[in-house]
Symmetry: C2
Subunit: 329 residues, 2 copies
């Protein structure tokens, strides 16, 4: 299966490292693009060589060639879309994905923006073209939650999904609870450790968690909701006193995303939970609890971020596409 | 897809109830057998009607017809093998499964015995026949752990699997820890609630957990191990004092199955774990932690038993088979 990779930031580099380390997977890299160059070779490129070139020159290939040129070349079976993308508008990933689906190419992405902004439209494009659109990496990092909804728990009706969807917030809350730190202290620590960005607004105000919740809601029930439909409260107003009050009752506070269509519930907010609740997890971990009619409550937990963890999710999607489509050819 | 069901105990009845409740799944029941009768109709049977007959007469169909007759009829695409089976020898399920695979039929089973006794042989038969052998229901009840190993985390190399694989033991240990009950008191309570069998040997001595561990070890690494290779310590010798000592260090004790091929580790034993360890779960729940090279540690948790929960796993397998094979026809 021929793979084109758009975007060589942390995730793209992590993916190329894994493709180089696991030749047994049998994927052939035929194109790669970063923000200022691209390389296309239908015979196959060496992922390690691309990484070396990128590291030495800051570019992966021929300057002047772009992501759009890669797509237009058609020299791939699956487009892996990892370009730095606006999480609200979904661009430029949204345009790349539409364009690849319109050409009848499979798409795998780690970009939340396009999936949250136009899930229904992209799913319809993929369906019409008879190709796959997969995005396991957009929610919960390495945790195979979309696989669990679509495949592992297939046949179940889902009543709700509840989850810890943002590792930065979970780290801050864990540290406030464990060490009695203030929000500002815990945030400063998270920044130092690289768990929070210089501008943490997007994480601490619950927007990142809400975007992931929208993706889960549309995947599971095809609700057609967007970010505007989510009632969002972040953790930036949370006081040490609130955590102390919770602790007095053997509880703690976590930022929880919840969707339950029958109750019209689509919310991200800090919630008081008993300490032994499955969603009370530590540090930067993520967890998702799926409530179903047959399987009861199934919880998945693991690392919510990291370049190699994200590569794991992308590779799982690539293998799923190969297994589903290649066997029929 | 035409489905034949062998065995109408709790799991078989649960499955027929779900097939009756979810006609949208599109499975056609063409045969059913219990220990003293069977019914075969290539045009399709009504699952609710079969359940009614079974309830009213104690038999599902024509006495004299057997499971072997169902298999010989060939009037199905997938055999669902749920007969009461010896967990050590795997019979009679092992014979049924071999016979169906030899006929080129897909097989789904909830029976641990045959998978633990002859995984390599059955997998080879299925491969030669170009059909699927699926057994999600054998480990962790409703938790889609085999799906996670095979599909969701595909592309990863696994270094270890660690899990709480027996709900009866976990219930007993939870109650000993929470309420300071003795082993005998907690076991008596588990029996009253139906969480432990009249003869609990198989559960409390760790044999059930060890069989599931063998299945995971062979699924994940094709180790070719059997029950004899597992170092097993049960919970029946565990004292209140041991739990108190653990509690003094903010820890508790759980029965943990562990396999790590690089360390030659294949063991079921009570283990002291910090209270916030992901495998410290409550009551009859099960949990499995998969350690991988890319995704890090991914933990899945949920209900480890129950007829409808088991039906969920079986239906997930049926859908996986339909998706994989039907699309190519």
């Amino acid at each position: 299966m021929r793979v084109a990779v758009l975007g060589l930031g942390a995730v793209g580099k992590g993916l190329l490292r894994m493709l180089a380390a696991k030749p047994e997977l049998g994927f052939v890299l035929t194109a790669a693009a970063d923000s200022s160059s691209a390389r296309i070779d239908p015979e196959g490129l060496d992922p390690a060589g691309i990484l070396d070139t990128k590291c030495a020159t800051g570019r992966c290939g021929v300057s002047g060639l772009t992501a759009a040129d890669v797509i237009a070349s058609g020299a791939f079976d699956v487009l892996v879309e990892l370009t730095p993308t606006n999480a609200l508008t979904g661009e430029p990933a949204l345009t790349h994905i539409r364009s690849a689906l319109n050409q009848g190419k499979h798409v795998v992405t780690s970009n939340k923006g396009p999936i949250a902004a136009d899930y229904a439209g992209l799913a319809a494009l993929a369906e019409d073209a008879g190709v796959a659109l997969r995005y396991e990496a957009t929610v919960g990092g390495a945790i195979p939650v979309i696989h669990a909804i679509r495949d592992g728990l297939a046949g179940n009706r889902f009543s709700s999904i509840t989850g810890v969807l943002n590792g930065t917030c979970n780290y801050i809350l864990t540290r406030m609870d464990d060490e009695g730190l203030t929000y500002e202290q815990a945030l400063a620590e998270a920044r130092e450790l690289g768990y929070a960005e210089a501008d943490p607004t997007y994480d601490v105000r619950g927007i990142d968690a809400a975007i992931k919740l929208v993706i889960l809601a549309n995947t599971c029930w095809n609700l057609g909701v967007t970010l505007d439909d989510v009632a969002i409260t972040g953790i930036d107003g949370l006081t040490v006193d609130a955590l102390r009050l919770a602790a007095d009752q053997d509880c703690t506070i976590r930022l929880i995303g919840e969707v339950a269509p029958a109750e019209n519930l689509l919310r991200v907010a800090p919630r008081v939970l008993p300490r032994n609740h499955p969603l009370v997890i530590e540090g930067t971990l993520n967890a998702v609890m799926l409530s179903t009619d047959m399987a009861g409550e199934v919880t998945l937990m693991g690392k919510g971020a990291g370049s190699v963890e994200t590569a794991s999710a992308i590779i799982g999607d690539l293998i799923a596409i190969r297994d589903r489509y290649a066997e029929c050819e």
